[in-house]
């Protein structure tokens, strides 16, 4: 005699937690937030390539894989802790836990396993400094941002943004075994980029955040204050984007790209500030900010890979 344990057809008195899982590999991949992971890997790659010295391509690849898996672990642990919030938000209601495809315990185990594994392997195959930085990044994102700041302060993404800004430093440390000014500048660029990027999104998703009880700036301080803050952070971000050129580790092509795209960011921030009705400028800012960060790091990467050709050519 056998019983079919479909999720919705459990016999009475049977503990639902023993029902076989309907989660496929795609659900586990979704837990790792692949889009965020791709940005993390890209910025870490730039840090790795910019670093002085030589690293064997295989060791570099191993470092990037560990950083990617570590980022995935942080994403999974974030989804484990925030399952209640995700269920109340339209944008996240389809994630594996709120959709009922995975249980929280499974996600916690998956996230912890990946976190431990990625840090240990990075330490064994690359170096201990990079591994320690990866552990710090995961812990900061999960404990400081997800568990503490996200639900308690509108400055959540400002401080929490440090976790997303660390990957270039990890990439750099994977080669050098240490940290210096250059990757810290890259860290600061991503750190200052995070608030305008997420607040632009939060402006037109404010209702969603309010329903979930997340104290994002537009929910707590209102739209006007948020628009002003976006402008302030963008005014700091745009000149900061040019600093790698001033410090001499990026060519003129990078400098020009940073100036032009930074000017567009500032122009969009002013439009957001001036916008009285609707969210056209906010949506444009959100979309362009992704392109902005990608372009800055892509030009940095191209500049270094081409051996400074961009710089010489422009000069």
């Amino acid at each position: 005699m056998s019983v079919t344990f479909a999720q919705a057809e459990l016999p009475s008195g049977v503990d639902p937690s023993i029902a076989p899982s309907i989660a496929g590999a795609r659900d586990y991949l979704e837990l790792m937030k692949p889009r965020v992971m791709s940005l993390v890997v890209f910025t870490a790659l730039v840090g790795l390539v910019l670093a002085p010295g030589h690293v064997h391509p295989v060791i570099g690849l191993a470092a990037l894989i560990c950083i990617a898996v570590g980022a995935g672990a942080a994403g999974a642990l974030n989804m484990w802790y925030d399952a209640d919030i995700d269920a109340r938000m339209e944008r996240t209601a389809g994630r594996p836990i709120p959709a009922g495809r995975l249980r929280r315990g499974e996600v916690l185990a998956f996230g912890l396993m990946l976190a431990c594994f990625s840090v240990c392997v990075l330490g064994l195959l690359v170096n201990v400094v990079a591994a320690a930085l990866l552990a710090l990044t995961i812990a900061f994102y999960v404990v400081v941002y997800t568990m503490w700041l996200k639900r308690s302060t509108p400055q959540n993404i400002v401080i929490g943004g440090a976790a997303g800004a660390l990957p270039p430093i990890i990439g750099w440390a994977s080669v050098t075994g240490g940290v210096s000014l250059e990757p810290v500048v890259l860290f600061l660029i991503i750190f200052m980029w995070t608030p305008p990027h997420f607040w632009a999104l939060a402006l037109y998703r404010a209702e969603d955040y309010a329903r979930a009880g997340v104290p994002m700036l537009p929910v707590v301080a209102g739209e006007r204050a948020t628009r002003r803050q976006i402008l302030l952070y963008t005014l700091i971000l745009a000149p900061l984007g040019v600093v790698p050129w001033f410090l001499g580790y990026a060519g003129a092509a990078y400098g020009i790209a940073a100036l032009v795209t930074g000017a567009i960011m500032v122009a969009l921030a002013f439009r957001i500030r001036a916008e009285k009705h609707g969210y056209t400028a906010s949506k444009q800012m959100f979309a362009f900010s992704i392109l902005y960060l990608f372009l800055l790091f892509a030009v940095l990467l191209a500049d270094r890979v081409s051996g400074g050709l961009f710089g010489h050519f422009a000069a």
Binding site: M1, T4, F5, I22, A25, H56, I59
Partner: protein, 78 residues
């Protein structure tokens, strides 16, 4: 059928035992208790393939890194 019905063999000595020997097939056919649905079978297969691919890539990575690092990989202090 409830568990008590399954367990109740009454006085009928010729009745088959409530739990026949397991004869596991695809999805656990022949095994008392759980029989997976098609959806669950697909999900399990998908997870199994993902685990196999991940482990294979991990072995390959360790192998190549060992080649790259050369004899030094064995000189790690304990």
């Amino acid at each position: 059928m409830s568990m008590s019905e399954l367990m109740n063999d009454g006085d009928n000595a010729s009745a088959p035992p409530p739990f026949p020997p397991p004869q596991a097939g695809k999805g656990g056919e022949g095994v008392p208790g759980i029989r997976l649905t098609e959806e669950q079978l697909r999900a399990r297969r998908s997870r199994s393939i993902a685990i196999a691919v991940s482990l294979g890539l991990l072995v390959l990575l360790f192998y190549i890194v060992t080649l790259v690092k050369g004899p030094g990989v064995l000189e790690r202090p304990l």
